[in-house]
Amino acid sequence: MNKAEIMKYVEDNVIEKRELPAFKAGDTITVHYKIKEGNKERIQNFQGVVLQRAGKGATETFTVRKISGNIGVERIFPVSSPFIDKIDVNKRGVVRRARIFYLRELQGKKARIKEKRK
């Protein structure tokens, strides 16, 4: 086995696979995230636009951006995190690139993303 095969074997066998819906940059999603407070566990929702998916395999992450009271908030989630309860895809966006960082500079009406026609 070469290095790549070994890494794949480890990631397939050691890290638990998460079944998440397919989404990509430009989509609007809601992440249901488990938060531990002392002994209690509750679920927090984070809804926003996916800016990018970075990395691969077990260490893959995605960035979600939302506007909270005129201030942009971005959060990075690991795809295989056990704290992600589930992900809802609210809207499929039409964007021309895999990483839409240009969205950070845009405000108001310009920051809209066209929705994909079904």
Partner: protein, 209 residues
Amino acid sequence: MSGLIGKKIGMTSVYDADGKNIPCTVILAGPCVVTQVRSKEKDGYEAIQLAFDDKKEKQTNKAERGHFAKAGISPKKVLAEFSRFESGHQKTFGDIIKVDIFEEGEYIDVVGTSKGKGFQGVVKRHNFAGVGQATHGQHNRLRAPGSIGASSWPSRVFKGMKMAGRMGGNRVKLVNLQIVKIISEKNLVLVKGAVPGSNGSYVIIERWK
């Protein structure tokens, strides 16, 4: 002390029971073969020599071929000596040692050769802070080493003065790394944190007790 020779494969991350992300390094460890046993009577010290990773017969010189033929194995790339294995792991010539000598959760040391950084200045090499300010008319001294000594006395630069030069490529030992997981059927060890060297480089995993 007991140990193994291994090969650094790469890094990944796993999640523990609390859902915490643990960065870890995957090491292909062994199986190693005992190719020589050093004894007090013959060599003046006790140790065993381990061999790891196959290599081509063509790339092996005659002396090495004889050494491996004695142990009855195909030629190996790396040899390393381990001083006295623990009493529970008394090994003899030709024995095969696998990852099962380690346990999950225990602490080990890893020795490797760090990545070569080339010729580096003092800021990167010795964590100097550079000279002075970046603004207020200050000019091209940002990453300079500063003074390297006094003048008429001693009229020389002291030995061992920290200066620019080749960095990296040294033997580095990291101690007390935790074993996160062992996959014995594939001879793999997952160690918490990073390990010296590039992917594909050889490392020595050892445990002192």
